[in-house]
């Protein structure tokens, strides 16, 4: 209980809360920078800290080391941050929008659709008009197509009900998964290994090109989400209540679907299908800081980046044989999720 007698008291309280939020976000941002710098030193090509520092300051004559740091590690880490942020924020938005703790990009079928699009490009060269952007381009296009199909399926004349939307997503996702399996069954071994590798999710081939490709849609999606923080908070009280308070639910739904399609499409296009990130990260932060999206979205962006960097670094160097990062997140995701289910107390999902 706090003593609030006057408007000034309330203003001070609000300012204190706001300051606390800002410092948490700043701490997360700092954490991200630190993680970035630490993981910059880890990789299969051995470089000492002094080597790295001299390369970063531009004073090194070691061209091979520069190649490794500037053309291999830095863009790979930046891609990890972008994808981690995109998947985490999208998972958060989906969980709030559908009031379902299981909601995540893979649940809505987006990842399966995108994977199928990429497989079409790999197997039959569909989308060749995009040249070297064939595979990411097809992943992206199918991301939107899937989202559109899900939305169309769930539309009734009374509008879209969130549970129906989720079910439609599961159905469409299952459909594309099935199609993907069929495709894998009929192609020859060379192409098959390419498809399987792609669907396992990896940052192995993420360089500057990938980063440039993904950063625009991911940023666009994240910006839309950032501008909808108030609406997302309101929707957390329930769609009916939010509408009563003045939120245009239809417009919000479309905007959020657009935003998550952009963010997830951009991610899947460069790194393949990486599961569980959109599920785990939002839950961690919701447990730590509560349900306010003004805090949660920036934290998911920074925290998602930290999480993805950590996962990728572990996947590529902790084991004798490099693991695709998607496999690692799945292995960690399941037991973590069970843990979350058993310990969360503050939430009563609908």
């Amino acid at each position: 209980m706090i003593e609030l007698k006057t408007v000034e008291d309330l203003e001070n309280y609000q300012r204190a809360v706001s300051r606390r939020s800002k410092s948490i976000v700043a701490a997360a941002g700092l954490g991200l920078i630190l993680t970035f710098l630490v993981t910059l030193m880890i990789g299969n090509y051995s470089l000492s800290i002094t080597d790295i520092l001299s390369i970063l300051s531009g004073m090194s004559g070691d061209s091979v080391g520069s190649y490794i740091i500037i053309d291999v590690r830095v863009p790979r880490l930046l891609c990890c941050i972008a994808v981690g942020a995109a998947l985490s924020a999208s998972g958060l938005v989906m969980q709030s929008l559908f009031k379902n703790p299981m909601a995540s990009p893979s649940v809505l079928g987006i990842s399966s659709g995108a994977a199928f699009g990429a497989a079409l490009a790999l197997a039959f060269g569909i989308g060749g008009f995009m040249g070297r952007y064939m595979v990411p381009g097809m992943a992206f296009i199918f991301c939107f197509l899937t989202m559109g199909a899900v939305y169309m399926l769930a539309r009734t004349k009374y509008g879209v009900v969130s549970t129906t939307l989720l079910l439609a997503g599961v159905a469409i996702g299952a459909f594309f998964s099935g199609m993907l399996s069929l495709l894998q069954y009929v192609v020859n071994e060379n192409v098959l290994s390419g498809i399987v590798y792609w669907t396992m999710g990896s940052f192995n081939n993420c360089g500057w090109q990938s980063f440039q490709l993904a950063i625009i849609p991911i940023s666009a999606g994240l910006l839309i989400m950032l501008f909808s923080i108030k609406e997302l908070n309101l929707i957390a009280a329930g769609e009916e209540q939010a509408a009563n308070i003045g939120v245009n639910i239809k417009k919000l739904r479309i905007l959020m679907i657009l935003a998550t399609s952009l963010a997830v499409g951009g991610s899947v296009a460069i790194s393949g299908v990486i599961g569980f990130v959109g599920l785990i990260v939002p839950h961690i932060f919701r447990m730590l800081v509560g349900p306010n999206h003004a805090l949660l979205i920036p934290l998911c962006v920074f925290g998602g980046g930290i999480f993805m960097i950590a996962m990728d670094t572990i996947a590529k160097s902790a084991f004798a044989m490099a693991l695709p990062v998607g496999v690692l997140t799945s292995l960690i995701g399941a037991p973590f999720f069970i843990y979350v289910m058993r310990t969360r107390k503050n939430e009563i999902w609908d």
Binding site: Y67, V72, G207, A322
Partner: protein
């Protein structure tokens, strides 16, 4: 009363049926006449690594010929005879070079880039190679055997110190050493030591870690004053970023790279020439190996023509480890070369009944197929 009688009859019937079942089961030891064994077909097991458009394809063709047809009709044919048989020569042997020599000793080489494109690169002669793909190391082995007059895969070749020194000193690393161990790739296991081999940890250009390649190339460059080159297969389907992952380390370490993807028998010859010349072999050696293989090919071809002259074309069935018929272009080429109808090679599953209807007379499986012969012959279906 009636009920008891009925029960007694039912019990007797069940016991009789059980007895028949047990008898049948105990007598099912005569599996030889069952399932696919009924076809009485000739069976071959081939090494998967020798079934693509690489020099080793001649070994597969000769072995398959021997399994099915037996001895060669004539072993005194010459290269001139081969050239005179224009149908054969145009189909399987006439080839265009993929490189052009420059006056400064470098070569302009046409290589396969990502997304099904090609590029021309200026490459000098190298003395050290990293190979992602068995084609390259096998071609080098063939070339060095040709140079020292040893027979491929022979014990003598594995005892010849020149050959051992060459292989160990030239092939600095590449795909996983365990691949050679798992697949009995003797020409690597017996000539290149594991300790000096830089293992890149993966077997495909897609999963390559560019940092490992950079390390490997740098180490290789430190050990030699000559040039280092990185060979790889399978770049054709790579996206541009995957491709850069393979070439970036080369550019950064001032090494070279060349990627080939031969898909027909006659493309084997220009790739032998490229690999040979780029690694400093003489034109003589290169030409000799090429002509050896061409002659061996012709001998089989000629025999096949004699043995199948006027007869009906019979069917062959070649199944991969997944239980589905193979669908590769090269597999069909090989079987057509040997005079078979390849309509069954459609990439689909063929069950026992459909195979007994189609009646292939020649069955082919891979040596690394984990199933035993009974399983492949559909005994347990």
């Amino acid at each position: 009363m009636v009920n008891n009688k009925l029960m007694a009859i039912a019990a007797a019937v069940i016991l009789a049926a059980a007895a028949v079942g047990v008898y049948a089961f105990l007598n099912s030891g005569e599996t030889e006449k069952k399932a696919l064994y009924k076809l009485g077909a000739v069976v071959s097991e081939v090494d998967m690594g020798k079934c693509s458009a690489t020099p080793a394809v001649i070994v597969t063709i000769e072995d398959m010929y021997r399994d099915y047809y037996g001895d060669l009709v004539s072993s005194s044919l010459t290269l001139a005879d081969a050239k005179a048989d224009t149908e054969f020569w145009n189909e399987y042997c006439s080839w265009e070079p993929m490189l052009k020599a420059n006056p400064d000793g470098t070569y302009d080489v046409k290589i396969t880039t990502g997304t099904k494109g090609t590029d021309t690169k200026k490459i000098p002669v190298s003395d050290t190679a990293l190979a992602m793909g068995t084609m390259y190391s096998e071609t080098l082995y063939y070339l060095i055997c040709t140079e020292y007059g040893e027979e491929m895969y022979s014990d003598e070749s594995y005892a010849n110190q020149n050959i051992l020194d060459y292989m160990n000193g030239t092939i600095a690393g590449g795909m996983q050493y365990s691949y050679y161990e798992d697949n009995d790739v003797d020409y690597m296991l017996k000539t290149v030591s594991k300790d000096s081999y830089y293992d890149l940890g993966v077997n495909s250009v897609q999963s390559l870690d560019s940092e490992k390649l950079t390390s490997a190339l740098r180490q290789a460059n430190e050990k030699t004053d000559g040039n280092v080159i990185y060979f790889a297969s399978g770049t054709r389907i790579l996206t541009s970023e995957h491709y850069n992952n393979n070439t970036g380390p080369c550019d950064a370490t001032e090494s070279y790279y060349a990627f080939f993807s031969p898909s027909e028998i006659k493309e084997v010859f220009p790739s032998i020439q490229c690999i040979g010349l780029l690694m400093g072999f003489s034109e003589e050696t290169v030409d000799k190996l090429i002509e050896d293989i061409q002659l061996r090919l012709y001998r089989v071809y000629h025999s096949v023509q004699e043995k199948t002259d006027g007869g009906e074309t019979v069917k062959a069935y070649w199944e991969g480890s997944s239980g589905k018929a193979i669908n590769s272009a090269m597999g069909k080429v090989i079987l057509n070369f040997l005079g078979f109808d390849t309509s069954l090679l459609d990439g689909a599953e063929h069950d026992l009944e459909s195979l007994l209807t189609d009646k292939p007379v020649y069955l082919v499986w891979y040596t690394n197929d984990g199933r035993n012969l009974d399983e492949r012959m559909r005994i347990n279906n």
